[in-house]
């Protein structure tokens, strides 16, 4: 019996081992970017959207940022399209904080140019 328990513990520890040596890549820091975004729509590259409910976390979080009108999520490419109000305009730092609060990683922010494809 104890062999079975040891096997379960060993499997858990072995599973964790490869990750103990991993150094997380440094995510871009948007905290200093406090200039209001001059665009009607921005596209966020977000990492770690592993499930539909995780994605809803970022949806709810972004909708709390003043100036965010609508959020559309493309899980396939890890893209979050955010429609912005005329006023107030949110900053990149605010959007980055919202993504971080949702437990996800913001990789990039790009203004959407009409007619362009992601």
């Amino acid at each position: 019996m104890l062999h079975a328990l040891r096997a379960a513990l060993a499997a858990t520890c072995l599973l964790s081992l490869p990750f103990a040596c991993v150094t997380p890549p440094k995510a871009p820091d948007f905290s200093a970017d406090t200039t209001p975004i001059d665009a009607a729509q921005v596209r966020l590259g977000v990492l770690g959207m592993s499930c539909p409910k995780c994605v809803s976390n970022v949806d709810l979080s972004l909708m709390r940022v003043p100036g965010v009108k609508h959020v559309a999520i493309n899980m396939k490419d890890g893209l979050v399209t955010v429609d912005l109000a005329e006023s107030p305009k949110p900053t990149a730092a605010q959007l980055a904080r919202a993504v971080d609060a949702a437990g996800l990683t913001l990789d990039r922010i790009e203004p959407v140019v009409a007619g362009a494809t992601p």
Partner: protein, 274 residues
């Protein structure tokens, strides 16, 4: 017949499930600050030799800061024991009552997002059970716990694991010994789960739900020598704001002397994010 009716009632009334997390394994994921996850779950423990214990559990979790979350959970129990189990546990065959209120904290110590879907999360777990039980479905003391949880998701595959130690307090004659931890022995949980996203094979541009097949190996060891290992396959549907799960657990190893042996464990659950 009565057992079937009770199981059906549990399945119908209770509800339990979350993100790409194994249904019965503590996860390293947590809601954002200001977001809440409400979880309703039901388990029917059918004992070898007849009789059953029905557990309905209400949980509410929220984020305090992005890497720290808290969850409160309160179980309710109904027992419908055979005469043998009743004699073994020294309790009435039919009883109902609240379990202990549990407050758990989760501190995420690693978040490694490597792709649009791929992620690895590790969290430290710590909590305490408070003596709110009635009819013997808990202890009269405060029971702290500590552990670690891991979630790794790569494409359609997900792995969950957790190890948790419960420092049981209270006197053994105050418990109805029906589940692991219902004696004065400490409990070590070591759980491992695998999830496979059945549908969709690849996420599209729409934010839609997903179906998963799950398999868990749930192990409890008690310092009184009792050990139980359950193989628990299941299914999980996760929509954008809610999730539904169903599991069936079979003992693959059971060396239990201090409580009735479990034959099958049926579980259902429903979770809401708001």
């Amino acid at each position: 017949m009565r057992r079937l009716a009770s199981v059906a009632a549990t399945v119908a009334l209770a509800s339990s499930a979350l993100a790409q997390e194994s249904p019965n394994i503590r996860s390293a994921t947590l809601p954002s600050p200001g977001n809440f996850v409400l979880r309703l779950s039901g388990n029917a423990y059918l004992y070898d030799g007849g009789g059953a214990l029905f557990e309905e559990r209400l949980r509410l979790a929220t984020g305090i800061i992005p890497e720290l979350g808290v969850e409160a959970q309160l179980p309710f129990y109904q027992s419908d024991l055979s005469s043998a189990a009743s004699a073994q546990t020294g309790t009435e065959p039919h009883a109902a009552g609240l379990g202990d209120l549990e407050i758990d904290f989760k501190l995420r110590i690693l978040r490694l997002d490597t792709g649009p879907v791929d992620t690895l999360r590790v969290a430290l777990l710590g909590g305490i059970e408070c003596p709110t039980s009635t009819a013997g479905f808990g202890s009269s003391g405060f029971v702290p716990n500590a552990g670690v949880a891991l979630n790794w998701i790569s494409g359609r595959h997900g792995v969950s694991a957790n190890v948790l130690y419960r420092f049981t307090t209270g006197k053994s004659d105050e418990f109805v010994p029906l589940l692991a931890g219902d004696t004065d022995a400490d409990v070590l949980e070591a759980n491992l789960g695998y999830l496979f996203r059945v549908h969709p094979a690849e996420y599209g541009e729409e934010h839609v739900g997903a179906w998963y097949a799950t398999a868990e190996l749930l192990t409890t060891y008690e310092t009184n020598g009792d050990v139980e290992m359950l193989l628990t396959p299941g299914i999980l549907y996760e929509g954008p704001r809610w999730a539904l799960e169903g599991t069936v657990g079979f003992p693959v190893w059971s060396q239990v002397d201090n409580r009735p042996e479990v034959d099958v464990v049926l579980g259902v659950g429903l979770r809401f994010l708001f």
